[in-house]
Assembly symmetry: C2
Homo-oligomer: 101 residues x 2
């Protein structure tokens, strides 16, 4: 079994599209720099439903050790430094998922 | 591009393990009954991190029409009826993800 880390974010009211794009650009660089990431999907909420959060990140990793590597990686920390002032609310879980086929 | 629907839940304080198991059992039946679900992962939070929600669901669907089918499907509604009284908090997003290869 592998591990799926999920984090959802609500941005502050005064967030700009350029700031969110900076987050997207930063996250886009992580898969090539953090080989522990088996799959990495993220993006803006599509606005289909009422009451949703604004942004989601799903990181698929082999195990808890890899999750720790991802979290502490300097390139990840650099994106978090960009994100942190934009975050009004955050919800996260880690769940077990089947290994990729 | 496909669509990823993510929902995280915090249970009420008095939730029982048997109630959560009933949710797990109900969700487990959905992929065979809702062909629109390309992938469906869910589970209890692993307790690795502080402040996490209790349960996560990730539904991969081809598009918004399929999301609507999933949401309104009677078997999904039956699981929601089990879940609803257990939910203290819910966070969700829908994001675009690459099509499966």
């Amino acid at each position: 079994m592998a591990l799926r880390h999920i984090a959802l974010f609500r941005w502050t009211d005064d967030v700009t599209s350029a700031q969110v794009q900076e987050v997207v650009d930063g996250l886009s660089r992580l898969p090539s720099r953090i080989p522990e990431l088996r799959a990495y999907t993220f993006g803006r909420d599509l606005g289909i439903s009422e009451g949703t959060y604004d942004f989601g990140v799903v990181a698929d990793l082999p195990d808890e050790k890899a999750l720790a590597v991802y979290r502490e990686h300097p390139d990840h920390q650099a994106v978090l430094a960009v994100m942190r002032p934009l975050i009004a609310d955050r919800a996260s879980v880690q769940i077990r998922v089947p290994d990729p086929e």
